[in-house]
Amino acid sequence: MAANITNKFVVFKLEDEEYGIDILRVKEIKEMIRITRVPKSPSFVRGVINLRGEVIPVIDLRKKFDMSQNIDTESTRIIIVLVDEITVGLIIDTSSEVLEIDKELIEEPPATIASIDHSYIYGIGKVKERLIILLDVSKIISITA
């Protein structure tokens, strides 16, 4: 078991870039459902949803990464992740697949990359011609960030 920890990633899209989250963090992927806005919450928190009786906050990743806003589409999804005993939903544009990325193919993030804050990135996965930005979910969730 120990050998194959963290080399499978759920891959999704935000704008034109591809991102990945460690599959062990992901509980499920949901289609867009009705979100209740929470007043006075940080701007990147879209609100809360009902996940089988639990109230779960939902973070708009585009907002979190200071990207331009998009209208939700048919393909918009909520990825439910569990980190440090906190369950949150992340709103993303499209989820595509689960990819296995060899450890050797994961590189340290270069100093200048993409449009998002450096500290959220855990590495860059290279799969053939594609570059996949691997996210550190616990950093995204930490309130101070």
Binding site: P39, K40, I56, P57, E85, I141
Partner: protein, 672 residues
């Protein structure tokens, strides 16, 4: 033998016994001659000794043993109750409590030594005439072990038992000479016999047998419905018992010459030393029937049960929604039935979680006693409503705030005796602790007839501390001045208590109470005393709420904070110091536009001429919340927003509506 499985029971039961010991000791202090209390204390000490002995906690055993000696002399009138003795007994209690807590923490008794207390106990014993010591010390081992004689009281009991069709035996038990744990064997014998009947007498005395103050034999008298053979067979099956001699007692053997049967029941009350064995057996019987009826349940399991009930209520609400659209009558009836059952189920589960507030109040008499001694004030604590029930989670949290308030009252509220007399009050200060249910909430009051709060000093202090400025201070009315006490930063320094006499950590009290969805209020009359009033919701998890819309969002307002609902004309809104107000029932009512506070877009209230306001109270204060529409009253299950969104202002939590949507619960306290 593995003792771990009994450890929990030991701890729980010890705590219960210590609690009752605490009460009895306080009772003894006021009624030193009351035999009933003394017997109760003796019984508790004895029980703890037995339990601790079984579990192998030697320090507790030694200490309780020594306590027993003192108590026994007390009971026999050899020594009298003194304050010093009560203090020492309280020390014993503290030591035992610490030991139990220590055991609960890590399974051992801890390093604290009981020697000092034991020495004190010994000194009490030695305080009496020296010959007497010699006599009692000699007496124990010399007791005639062979012959069991019934006294008048025993004869009465025996005669009555025979009359009612019981068999009465004198049983002599001979232990193997190589028996190592004689007391343990005897204990097993007692246990075995108690399955079939009651032991009314033992020779030597039970305590002596437990202390192994006997040779190889002892006798007991048994009352049982079983015949000799059954009991004999059981006793003989115990190892290391060589011989069991039965002697059946017939009515003719009983010497009733000086007894008449009616006396028996009376005898029990005035002859405590004789019926001790009987009490002990009776007690074990009571316990047996009790354990049959109650079950100890882990609070987590109850929480889980509560969650499931919550889910059920959500589904029920959802079905109600479906039911109204559906014309099928059966469906409607079924949903109605379901509703009744879920309501009952909810009540039942809530009841299971309810604990009488006695549990918290119990420790206060002792605390007040210690504090009044320390401060050399004479204080009567008058408690009422101990049976009032509150949710277990609230009970666990409410203790500290109450301690705070009581300490405050004693320390700063109630004056010195001299001062009280000078003011024409009785030298004894009165501290009232009351609990009662008021509608859907429970009220706890801490009231003293002391100094009261000097509000002008409070205002002055607040200005010094920079909480308000001079101008504000002058315009403050009484209510707002009292509020200053609860401001963080007002209280921290003890200097405050020197000046105003109040305010040690009151902000902490307030925060705690508010975290339990409660409120604190103060009423005070300078020179006459003050009253702190805590108001707590009965339940925490499920509440009745008013559902409203603001813009196109739905919100819940807890029903218990709503005073009324009314409509106002937009033109009647006035502006005072930047605060919108209306005149309502001849009072100035501040209004809060929820759509603005909660940043809701598209609210109609901005243009409407007639507006719906929900009047909400927080203690004595009121405010009108402007909403777009009322949906109706509904039972809602409170869910937290979770760690990630903790500390969001104005929102107390969330709930899931029948259609699966999430609605937020407005935290009215933070808005007023």
């Amino acid at each position: 033998m593995d003792m771990n499985q009994y450890l929990e029971i030991f701890i729980e039961e010890s705590q219960e016994h210590l609690q009752s010991l605490n009460q009895s000791l306080l009772g003894l202090e006021t009624n030193p001659k009351d035999m009933k209390i003394l017997n109760e204390i003796f019984r508790v000490a004895h029980t703890i000794k037995g339990m601790a002995g079984t579990m192998g906690y030697s320090k507790m055993t030694n200490l309780t043993h020594q306590m027993e000696n003192v108590l026994d002399d007390l009971r026999n009138g050899k020594i009298d109750v003194s304050t010093f003795m009560i203090d020492v007994l309280f020390e014993c209690l503290d030591f035992l409590e610490n030991s139990v807590n220590h055991i609960a923490g890590n399974g051992t008794e801890g390093n604290a030594s009981a020697d000092e207390i034991i020495t004190k106990l010994n000194n009490i014993l030695k305080g009496k005439a020296t010959q007497e010591v010699a006599v009692t010390e000699l007496k124990a081992p010399v007791i005639d072990q062979g012959i069991m004689k019934f006294n008048q009281y025993d004869n009465g009991v025996v005669a009555k038992a025979i009359e009612q069709g019981f068999n009465v035996f004198k049983v002599k038990i001979l232990l193997d000479s190589g028996c190592m744990l004689k007391a343990a064997r005897a204990f097993i014998v007692f246990q075995t016999v108690e399955r079939y009947g009651e032991i009314i007498k033992a020779v030597p005395k039970v305590e002596d047998i437990e202390d192994e103050n006997f040779e190889n034999e002892f006798s007991i008298a048994i009352i049982s419905l079983e015949n000799e053979a059954v009991i004999r067979k059981e006793l003989e099956s115990i190892s290391e018992i060589t011989q069991v001699v039965f002697e059946k007692i017939e009515i003719a053997d009983v010497d009733l010459s000086e007894t008449n049967l009616e006396n028996v029941t009376e005898a029990e009350s005035f002859d405590p030393s004789q019926n001790e064995e009987k009490e002990a057996t009776e007690d074990s019987h009571n316990k047996k029937s009790k354990t049959g009826k109650t079950v100890r349940v882990d609070i987590d399991r109850l929480d889980n049960l509560m969650n499931l009930v919550s889910e059920l209520i959500i589904i029920k609400t959802r079905l109600e929604g479906v039911g109204t659209d559906n014309t099928n009558q059966d469906m409607g009836e079924a949903v109605e039935y379901l509703e009744r059952i879920t309501t009952n189920l909810h009540d039942a589960v809530m009841k299971v979680r309810m604990v009488p507030i006695e549990r918290v109040f119990n420790r206060f008499p002792r605390m007040v006693r210690d504090l009044s001694k320390e401060l050399n004030k004479d204080i009567d604590l008058i408690m009422s409503g101990e049976e009032t029930e509150l949710d277990r989670t609230v009970i666990d949290e409410i203790g500290d705030p109450l301690i705070h308030l009581i300490r405050n009252s004693i320390d700063h509220g109630i004056e010195d005796m001299g001062e009280r007399v000078k003011r024409g009050k009785s030298s004894t200060g009165n501290l009232y602790l009351r609990a009662y249910q008021d509608g859907n909430s429970v009220v706890i009051e801490v009231e003293d007839d002391g100094n009261g709060i000097d509000l002008s000093k409070v205002r002055k202090k607040a200005v010094e501390k920079g909480i308000i400025n001079k101008l504000e201070a002058d315009s403050l009315d009484e209510k707002s001045s009292v509020e200053l006490l609860f401001k963080p930063g007002f209280s921290t320094a003890d200097k405050v208590s020197d000046i105003s006499g109040r305010g040690v950590g009151l902000d902490v009290v307030k925060t705690k109470i508010e975290s339990l969805n409660g409120i604190v209020e103060v009423e005070t009359v300078s020179g006459k005393g003050s009253k702190f009033i805590i108001r707590l919701p009965l339940t925490l998890a499920i509440i009745q709420a008013l559902m409203v819309t603001i813009g196109n969002e739905k919100y819940a307002i807890p029903l218990n904070v709503i005073r009324d609902i009314t409509t106002i004309d937009a033109e009647t809104i006035r502006n005072i110091h930047g605060q919108e107000v209306v005149l309502n029932r001849n009072n100035v009512l501040p209004i809060i536009r929820l759509n603005r506070v909660l940043d809701v877009e598209g609210s109609m209230t901005e243009e409407q001429k007639e507006m719906t306001i929900v009047v909400v109270k927080k203690g004595e204060k009121h405010a009108g919340f402007i909403v777009d529409n009322l949906i109706g009253q509904q039972e809602i299950v409170i869910k937290t927003l979770g760690k990630y969104l903790s500390g969001i202002r104005y929102i107390a939590g969330a709930t899931i509506l029948g259609d699966g949507q999430v609605a937020l619960i407005i935290d009215t306290n933070s808005l007023i």
